[in-house]
Symmetry: C2
Subunit: 385 residues, 2 copies
């Protein structure tokens, strides 16, 4: 494929995306690639899935625990005062592997993931992003020439939505494809929201439904003749699986920027981005960060449509994780501690401004830095309008 | 190995390093690992070496060229004004694979590489570093528990030397070990040196000798019974190979911070860090960045001791690259455009403050944005005192 055609087809995809967020999925043959090309093809991958490979960013401890690679405390951003008193540096890095086959959409999701860490601090303005790319060594030159520009275009689209700019790309040839980035903001002390100010009586809000991984897995298994596929089809229809997949992709591509701005307006007491550790894992870290001794009670689980049924009936350990609040997300919502009085207004406004709801999923009480997912937590079956 | 022992032995190595920069090389059996453990063991690596895998950071272009992964113009740092007029953000990211087997020293080198990009802009104060780590999936838990804390300690040592701080570690499990980092500085406009102000009459200075890769390769081949090893031994002795190896490691671990400060004092007109593209490659990019149309003439090549002889006699294409100024460096010196009048003072002061010399290797004339390595360039055989 010539350079001109290549740039042209990327541009077309981008235009299409402007018209319709539910753009058609990536077909490698549209780009002159073999039908078997898959961005998510990790031949060397052992059981356990990609979720086991992600590591949240950690704060460096004075003494390193020996249980590497868990080298410290997971956090969303590093927040430090600048040397010369200009303000504060809020910075985050992200790294992930492709989990869907469309390079353009995957670029968007990778960028969303990075920016959502800033949004968790209430920071909705970003100085710059640097793209981090592991360029798969097994790709042919043709595959590289198709995949990388599409990824970067998806990434750029997301950056444009966020009103930010990309200032560099750092790439390395690697056995596996890696996507990631560094996002930096410099702001005054009143320009970010500290994470540790929750008090008893706060409510817990969540801005995206859970279950993207299960939705992606179920979609993958549509073409799978094995028993797993048959079990899935006994529970939900193929059309429902496709709906859930679209919903998951849209959710992962969506920036939490409106939530970040509303956190300021409604005096949020702290928030965190739901990622690799799942809802309960990240809630636990947020509870640990609180100045007061609190317990987070979670009694609602907003889930991508049909995923509750699938997780219950499917019987696989990975799937059941979802109902325990432990399923990893690549680019999830924000979990926000908000004064109870502000919660209704927050939910009304986010629905209006973002077009997507947020849910009150729990409450904060005096306690002992634990997270309690109540036994009969309600499963909220979330479907896109 | 227990956690306590592990931390203890790391601490001992660190102490040792304080006393003697030429610390003994990493012996895996000292840490309870198998004698065959090698940090640089890349079973999947094809011919061409690791140098072919590194990519310099690039500036994003409006239109992507199709020849991915070269997505733009290589640069040392991104330099942008902050949104709210607090000053300027100077930022760089680095990624590399281990090229030596000592995790502690490799951590130091990886960090040096990242910081040297800041120093190329004259920026000698850094807000923070984030470590990027690809944790090799093939490592046993024991190997991981030995290697990662040592790497991070080496990294921390370098950061302490630089007067900076680490604020995060982002890791991902990966088929190959990766080391890298993000370094950020916020400064006023007079806090960094623009790269494009060279004028005809400037001299070109270099702050480290070239040839680290050949020195590492030669050292590796000491234990190699093949013809290459025999050819090397006809040219230089085993003791000379070991000296060159030590010199290469010390050179790669050395920060260019003194050079950065002296660039300010002596009104440097621009500089770049010698990395993946070799001296001539990076000189070419620096020439391209100049506001004026200039040619860079290079007539001296400072080389690690005995490497000139080896490159001449060895007859392998990779080795001959060195004498063409094209051999990649992982963490090389700065190439600096300096007013001719200041050059002697710069060289005197860097030798005094740093303990290592810099060399006048060429001159800047009116021209056409090219780099000319003169045919009979003098090879300066550099040996550590």
């Amino acid at each position: 494929m010539s350079s001109a055609t290549n740039v042209q087809s990327s541009a077309n995809l981008e235009l299409h995306d402007e018209e319709d967020p539910l753009r058609p999925y990536f077909d490698p043959t549209d780009h002159g690639l073999d039908n078997s090309f898959r961005l998510t093809h990790f031949v060397e991958l052992e059981a356990g899935g990609l979720g086991t490979l992600w590591q949240p960013e950690t704060v460096v401890q004075d003494e390193l625990p020996s249980a590497a690679p868990k080298l410290g405390i997971p956090h969303d951003c590093s927040v430090i005062p600048l040397r010369r008193g200009f303000g504060w540096l809020v910075q985050t890095t992200g790294l992930c592997y492709p989990i869907i086959d469309d390079p353009y959409v995957m670029g968007k999701i990778a960028c969303t993931k990075v920016l959502n860490n800033l949004y968790a601090m209430g920071v909705s303005e970003c100085e710059n992003l640097t793209i981090l790319l592991g360029v798969r060594s097994g790709w042919t030159e043709q595959e590289r020439d198709v995949v990388l520009p599409l990824m970067v275009r998806g990434y750029k689209r997301c950056v444009a939505e966020a009103g930010a700019r990309i200032t560099g790309i750092r790439s390395i040839v690697n056995p596996w494809c890696i996507l990631g980035g560094v996002a930096t903001s410099v702001c005054q002390q009143d320009g970010f929201i500290e994470q540790g100010n929750a008090i008893a009586g706060d409510v817990l809000l969540l801005t995206k439904p859970l279950g993207t991984q299960l939705a992606l897995d179920a979609y993958q298994s549509i073409w799978d003749a094995e028993s797993r596929s048959k079990r899935i089809k006994l529970t939900i229809t193929e059309e429902q699986v496709k709906q859930a997949h679209r919903q998951a992709i849209n959710s992962m591509s969506r920036l939490n920027s409106v939530a970040a701005r509303l956190m300021f307006k409604h005096n949020a007491h702290g928030a965190t981005h739901i990622g690799e550790l799942g809802l309960v894992g990240h809630a636990q870290h947020l509870a640990n960060m609180q100045k007061q001794e609190l317990t987070f009670y979670i009694y609602n689980l907003p889930l991508i449509g049909h995923m509750a049924a699938l997780a219950k009936d499917n019987g696989e350990a990975n799937d059941r994780q979802l109902l325990e609040g432990l399923a990893p997300e690549l680019s999830g919502g924000l979990l926000i501690c908000l004064p109870r009085k502000q919660a209704a207004a927050f939910c009304t406004e986010i629905k209006e401004l973002d077009g997507h709801p947020a849910w009150i999923i729990g409450m904060v009480t005096k306690g002992n830095r634990t997270v309690r997912l109540v036994k009969r937590a309600q499963h909220i079956d979330v479907k896109d309008d």
